[in-house]
Symmetry: C2
Subunit: 348 residues, 2 copies
């Protein structure tokens, strides 16, 4: 069965039929627009990510459930990076005739499953046909108290640079996918990342971070955004970078190759933030309570620039840069995204 | 110059540099998510429309400024149909390498021009690359007082069916485009429609409509949505349908062909609504003040079904139906949309 057979409204009904009514949704799917009533006195947050077949994902080796989950997760990660509470999302799909309905069903199922995990409601969107490629565009709305929202621009000299979880696993997973592997925990980090919503909210509520971003383009590139907007620099310590046991098993020696993958591979969807030194004790206590690893990896400096120092204190020069979606590529990164993040696939 | 040369962030900066700060925007472009503070006690509204090259528009004969305007207008029309106030929007673009930057600049310029006309602010979005086709996805947020929002489901037997402006002009414009015409007022209604935001808001504030929708799929199809959701039927009078002087000049005789075009052509972006008979006098007074034509074209019935009656009172049978994006087409409508509307082009 495909979309031609059930028609657009049939497909919308299928989606609508799966939605449990969300908190604060006054009007959901089925009208010209959706109406939501946020908690009074809170700020609305909105973020969008668009995923294009052949750019952000490859249907030949991403399962639709994971694709649906990831499409929402990358948006959830953006709200998490503001310290916000995700609430509602709109889904737009351009669907080529070749896509079976079963694939779409599974994709939406994955998306709604992730939505349920974070108590987020699908409130509307759009479906249309596409000549050849599947396009998924999500807008996620959220909110937070105005004084709790964490921007990219608040880093100050002396602040510590911290990151949740581990980095490099997604890039390793992508590399293994390209080599033909089709399952395993390393791949999961790439194909099905889990956004740090709980951690972002807890950080915001505790008022700890001075600046925060989620890692999509790569640790160095995303830290670069914080530095640019905060008009500061940073020193990072290579031996403090949190690398998983899996990553270290794959790369027994932390050489330039593995280090480059860790700091520039991207799509970690971990939270990267800065915090005043006086709040570090509170930070570690908070994360112990959350059960999530957090690591201090560097310090913010007054002088601009970003340097990565080896164990001997000498600066490491890596031939890496943050991804830029439209910049000329070196062949290994035919595509990557800034605000839009790759979802699942070899294409970067 | 193209996007590869200036890079993603260069392009985002170009867009950001053009944005005048919008009312209520706390955080706009340049952070992980946008933050907006709606007027306290009002309901947030959100709507999305995605436009795909080759489906909703054809670059060979739509100018980029009009395309940008129309991409936003179809979303504005959705908020208008709720009686809402449009506030902020997010723009996601998937851009193929073949698209010159000048085209994108002009498209965004048209979009921001229309945004300025309606005091709407661009607050965020996404840009990514696309292998071959341009995709434009917009999410528009708005608000309204809860009791003023007009849904599709409120039509009651005896209510009058009304429509703003004239219908059929957009479909006529599309037909002329297909025949090779490239300019003229008929084409403008198709390529560059003006959403009825002011009228929708005025209707909502006056509390006149019992149900409302904007005409994108065609008058019959969109009235069908109101009837379905209100569990009522309707009788329409063919000789009351508001046809423009231009439309009548092109079709001196209102025959089945021209009538079909008027009631099923779609993309009129007029407001179609129902109102109790006791409010018709107030309605006409309101629209006289607005300077917008409004026409009573039929009546809501308790018995289900939708009939179109000729001047002699006999039912007219037209071989038309509302568009369905994924339904098998008859060749003349290879694509059309429900929630997503064609933007500018021969492809329907």
């Amino acid at each position: 069965m495909n979309l031609r057979e059930i028609g657009e409204f049939g497909f919308i009904d299928r989606i609508a039929g799966r939605i449990v009514s969300g908190t604060g949704v006054v009007i959901g799917i089925g009208d010209d627009a959706a109406a939501v009533e946020p908690v009074p006195g809170r700020l609305d947050l909105a973020t969008s990510d668009m995923l294009v077949e052949g750019v952000h994902f490859d249907l030949s080796f991403c399962d639709p459930v994971s694709l649906g989950r990831k499409a929402l997760s990358v948006n959830l990660s953006d709200i998490a990076a503001m310290g916000g509470e995700p609430r509602h999302f709109l889904l737009s799909l351009a669907v080529p005739p070749s896509i079976p309905l079963e694939f779409l069903d599974a994709c939406v199922q994955g998306m709604l499953q992730r939505a349920g995990e974070f108590d987020v409601a699908l409130i509307g969107g759009d479906t249309c046909s596409s000549p050849d490629r599947l396009v998924i565009s999500i807008t996620l709305l959220g909110d937070q108290l105005p004084h709790r929202i964490i921007r990219r621009s608040g880093a100050r000299p002396g602040d510590r640079v911290c990151v949740t979880g581990t980095i490099g696993d997604s890039a390793l997973g992508l590399r293994l996918l390209r080599k033909g592997e089709r399952s395993g925990p390393a791949l999961d980090r790439h194909l099905d990342p889990m956004p740090r919503v709980k951690e972002g909210r807890a950080l915001a509520e505790a008022g700890i971070p001075s600046a925060m971003i989620d890692i999509s383009d790569g640790l160095l590139a995303d830290l670069g955004h914080i530095l640019d907007l905060s008009s500061v620099g940073a020193r990072l310590y290579a031996d403090k970078l949190p690398l998983s046991t899996r990553f270290r098993a794959h790369f027994p020696v932390t050489d330039r190759e593995s280090l480059s993958l860790a700091v520039a591979g991207g799509e970690d969807y971990e939270l990267l933030f800065t915090a005043p030194p006086g709040k570090m004790q509170e930070l570690f206590g908070l994360f112990e309570g959350l059960g999530t690893p957090v690591t201090e990896i560097g310090v913010i400096t007054q002088e601009p620039g970003l340097s990565l120092l080896g164990a001997d204190g000498a600066e490491l020069r890596l031939d890496v840069a943050g991804f830029d979606h439209f910049a000329a590529s070196d062949g290994t990164k035919p595509c990557a995204t800034g605000h839009g993040r790759p979802a699942c696939g070899v294409h970067r």
